[in-house]
């Protein structure tokens, strides 16, 4: 009973918030509803008894969207509405159709739910985190490691692209002082005259 109420509450809130994310013309509304929706998705994991995955969802997306916010802060004025220029109707049609298809599949899924079996059922004696760890380091070891290598490559690429003067220290940079010190001699004379 509680689970059904909680499920419908979370569903309505999540869908509503993600609608705001898509429809809103204000960066701040879009980002905030995205963050709130991602936090509420962790509620579904908690309802299903997957506490560990729920908390991971919470931590990962809170941090990830915080990084998105910093981009929004750099590029937009957060207190004004945006005017979106490109409205590619073909793309909108394709994306809308795909979403509708996914929705239909999701709602028809429970009809076949009796045929769906968990390949790796949870162990009641082991905890949530242990279950995830067992599957991650046996069945899904290769995808896990490949994802880790991919993230490492992305991180190194990001550092190399962003860091141009990595052999110089930013805080001990004295080049500015040199520029201040170099004053043409005639200007110095003018200052002296004024005194």
């Amino acid at each position: 009973m509680y689970e059904i109420v909680a499920f419908y509450l979370f569903s309505v809130l999540t869908i509503g918030l993600f609608l705001v994310t898509v429809m809103s013309e204000n960066v701040l509304y879009a980002m905030t509803s995205l963050a709130a929706g991602m936090v509420l998705i962790s509620g579904f994991f908690f309802i299903l008894g997957a506490d560990f995955l729920g908390v991971v969802q919470l931590i990962v997306y809170v941090g990830a969207i915080m990084a998105l916010y910093s981009f929004a802060m750099m590029f937009f004025d957060a207190t004004r509405d945006m005017k979106e220029k490109n409205t590619n109707s073909l793309l909108v049609f394709a994306l809308g159709g795909l979403s509708a298809l996914v929705l239909v599949l999701m709602f028809t899924g429970p009809i076949y739910s009796e045929h769906i079996q968990a390949l790796y059922p949870m162990h009641p004696d082991a905890g949530n985190a242990q279950d995830v760890g067992m599957v991650l380091f046996t069945k899904y070891l290769v995808p896990f490691e490949v994802a880790a290598v991919m993230l490492l490559v992305a991180m190194i690429a990001g550092i190399i692209l962003a860091g141009k003067k990595m052999d110089e220290s930013l805080t001990e940079d004295t080049s500015i002082d040199d520029e201040i010190m170099i004053i043409p001699e005639d200007e110095v004379i003018i200052v002296k005259d004024k005194k």
């Binding site: 204000n26 701040l28 509304y29 905030t32 963050a35 936090v39 506490d51 560990f52 908390v55 991971v56 919470l58 931590i59 809170v62 941090g63 915080m66 990084a67 916010y69 910093s70 929004a72 802060m73 957060a78 207190t79 905890g127 949530n128 985190a129 930013l170 805080t171």
Partner: protein, 345 residues
Amino acid sequence: METTTLVENLPHVTSLGVIIKAIIILAIISALAGFGTYIERKVLAFMQRRLGPMHVGPYGLLQIAADGIKLFTKEDIIPQNANKLIFMVAPIITAATAFIALSSVPVFPDFTIPSWMPIIGDTFVPAIASDLNVGILFVLGMMAAGLYGPLLAGMSQANKWGIIGAARTAVQFLSYEVVTGLSILAPIMLVGSLSFVDFNQYQSGGIGDWIVWKQPVAFILFLIAGFAETNRTPFDLLEHEAEIVSGYATEYSGMRWGMFFIGEYANMITISIIAAVVFLGGYNEASAIGWLTIMLKVAFFFFLMLWVRASWPHIRPDQLMWLCWKVLMPIAVVNILITAIAIMV
């Protein structure tokens, strides 16, 4: 783990008990936040050879009431160009997440309400309002979500100081979060569980069993990251009075500002409880003074935060990033590697 047998011995936790527990937490921690401001002003004053608040009541004790009346009756101003909805929601996020985080840490001892009480008699009130298996991760995640309060407040108020405060919030979050997670990972590996109850059981043998003796490096790293997490002084970049007026809180007044304040003090208490339970033995249920000792430990950490505020200057945002990413994170990773090797051998 062994928790299942322990839970069976305890009386059944009803939803009424959890609600009573939530009300107790909300009431006492809110009051403690008000009392905390008094303690903070007094301690800072004595460390700086001043007297602090002295005029209202004996030793200035009623200053709390005066401050509270001022906060409640002050006009609630919303700036003209601000994004009003987000501006109004932001303080609620800070306060709410701080109290949600408190819901899964052990705050006060469990007790049964005597049966002569009407309606709520014989209700068992648990020590932890919601005893999750992944309590530590949940608390850290909720405290991380609490930083959306300053971020949204700074971005929505159409004020340049606020924007700088919001940018610093993002910088601070991206710096300390890695250190918090990695530093607390080593004790988690030792105990083999994410539940506060298991941490308490692991250290139930006395002072010699405390994790701080096995993981001194992790303890210090967690404390440093905890200071950043609660925006306490060496790392209070968000509302650095000397540089950016009041940062994210520049445009706030009255109770909305008060909610940021209550959230910050509740977070200080939460971090103190985590440090006490994970590293310093926690509450020892066997002896009667167990809960007294954890309150002393929490009070010590609270005092430590004030002590550090009196002793150390602020640091710059780039110094915080340098500290977290180039010093603390490598130390934490090496600490985890050494712990793992020690466990395997």
